[in-house]
């Protein structure tokens, strides 16, 4: 399920597609930005063209070969800079304004974004998910090179969820606010998308190769574990959140047990079906032989 993001959420797309700046799929984005920001007519051009009336931001890294920065990249940089101010200002336009100022832009740049801080939160979540993917990718490389042991599934899931939740620690005071903003109707599609792709990533690196309904049950279970652990973390005041990690361990253990119970239920179901089928065939062949006689 891929949802269409509404124009205010292009900043989300910006942070996610940083590596695909030159991809042709950005043309629809460029034309939608044309509607909103008439003062930036250059967005109509594909980003590959180096000349443009806007000042170029060089030396910031991630510029590819162009010295012309797209609006998406700029928004991405502003939001990243704004994160530093979140512990103080919360997920608000003030934080974005402060972030813009550190980049040498006017605080009015915050006007590019929604006033409720949605893009900032979505950007942060997307960034965390990308970091998690990179972390899991690296771990997997180590296992493939034989430099690390392959973890059992429950430990893998525990470690992955813990690593991801730990990224919230610097912002933990303001995270409940972020969660409630993510529950606003206009954020639900993007928020859900980010959540599902993160969970899918974790299972993928855990080595899930299911192609049947298990695909859904596993992801649903892990989503439940992640969400409940996140909520426990919000209320946890133990040192280094050890209560949260213990809760996580218990939930993952429950999930593993659930798996074997499900298997038992399935084999019972299969046995019952086979019995019924055998009965049906016996009856129909008994009928046929009676008719022959």
């Amino acid at each position: 399920v891929r949802c269409q993001l509404s124009p205010p959420h292009r900043a989300l797309q910006a942070s996610a597609v940083l590596r695909r700046v030159s991809d042709e799929q950005k043309e629809p984005l460029a034309s939608s930005s044309q509607q909103q920001f008439d003062s930036h007519p250059t967005n109509h051009q594909p980003e590959q063209e180096p000349q443009g009336p806007r000042p170029s931001y060089t030396g910031q890294g991630g510029q590819e070969s162009e010295d012309y920065e797209s609006e998406e990249q700029l928004q991405h940089r502003i939001l990243t800079a704004a994160l530093e101010f979140v512990p103080e200002h919360g997920w608000t336009a003030e934080a974005i304004a402060e972030g813009a100022k550190t980049l040498g832009l006017s605080a009015a740049a915050a006007g590019m974004f929604h006033s409720d801080g949605s893009e900032l939160i979505l950007h942060f979540v997307s960034q965390c998910n990308t970091k998690l993917s990179e972390l899991l990718e690296q771990e997997q490389k180590l296992v493939q090179l034989g430099e690390a042991e392959k973890k059992p599934t429950d430990q893998f899931l525990r470690d992955a969820v813990q690593a991801r939740l730990r990224m919230l620690i610097p912002y933990i005071e303001k995270w409940p606010q972020a969660l409630s903003i993510l529950l606003l109707p206009h954020n639900i599609p993007s928020g859900l998308n980010l959540l599902t792709s993160m969970i899918d990533d974790i299972w993928h690196y855990a080595g899930d190769q299911s192609t049947d309904f298990n695909w859904y049950t596993r992801r649903a279970v892990l989503t439940g574990i992640y969400n409940t652990t996140e909520l426990v973390m919000m209320q946890d005041s133990s040192p280094d959140f050890e209560d949260t990690w213990r809760f996580l361990e218990n939930r993952v253990a429950d999930a593993m047990n659930m798996g074997s119970t499900a298997n038992q239920v399935q084999s019972t179901g299969e046995a019952v079906v086979q019995g019924l089928m055998g009965a049906a065939v016996t009856v129909s062949s008994a009928e046929t032989s009676r008719a022959v006689r």
Binding site: Q13, S133, E137, Q140, N193, Q209, F213, W215, M277
Partner: protein, 193 residues
């Protein structure tokens, strides 16, 4: 976020997801997987009724080929990180019921069902081949090869069905139309859900 995922390398197999048209490939693999799964269940249903009859070996052989097809799509699904259709449990039952039901109409009924389904599937594979050729034949070479091979196999099953007097089945044209309508609906739903 969907857009960012395209550049991830798939870990367990060597398929690179770089630059792949995700929406199109997702749909193709999801619906083909569902189709092969359904075909498996249909043959299973037919075997359950006609397994010990004279057409048993023929159906068994076609079933074995479908099992290979399903195995291949399972691999492709993992390689391209495509999610399976949520309707799989439903196709599980519906396929079996269709196979068993058509077999209860007799050997010709089973063959008629085979002809109808295989014709639907090969038409469907043909349109997918067209889509992929329009997209980028080079990039999707492996997938194209697989689909072409499977399309040929399904056509063969269709011809086997005809050879075994499918057309002499009771209410052949009604049966065939009804089954093909069902297949169209199944394809539509499996692509999306």
């Amino acid at each position: 976020v969907p857009a960012g995922r395209v550049s991830l390398r798939c870990c367990s197999t060597r398929v690179s997801l770089e630059g792949v048209n995700r929406p199109v490939i997702d749909r193709i693999i999801r619906v083909d997987h569902a189709g092969e799964y359904g075909a498996n269940r249909i043959y299973a249903g037919q075997m359950a009724v006609l397994g010990r009859s004279s057409v048993g070996p023929v159906i068994q052989q076609m079933w074995n080929q479908e099992k290979d097809h399903l195995k291949k799509f399972n691999e492709l699904m993992v390689a391209y990180r495509v999610r399976p259709t949520v309707l799989l449990p439903f196709w599980n039952v519906a396929g079996f019921v269709l196979g068993a039901g058509s077999a209860l109409l007799g050997k010709k009924g089973a063959m008629a069902c085979t002809v109808a389904v295989e014709e639907s599937i090969s038409d469907h594979y043909n349109s997918q081949i067209r889509t992929l050729m329009e997209e980028d034949p080079e990039k999707y070479k492996e997938l194209l090869q697989v689909i072409k091979q499977f399309r040929d196999d399904e056509r063969e099953h269709h011809d086997i069905g005809l050879e075994h007097d499918a057309e002499a089945a009771p209410a052949y044209s009604v049966l065939k139309t009804a089954i093909q309508l069902g297949c169209k609906a199944a394809i539509f739903l499996s692509e999306r859900i």
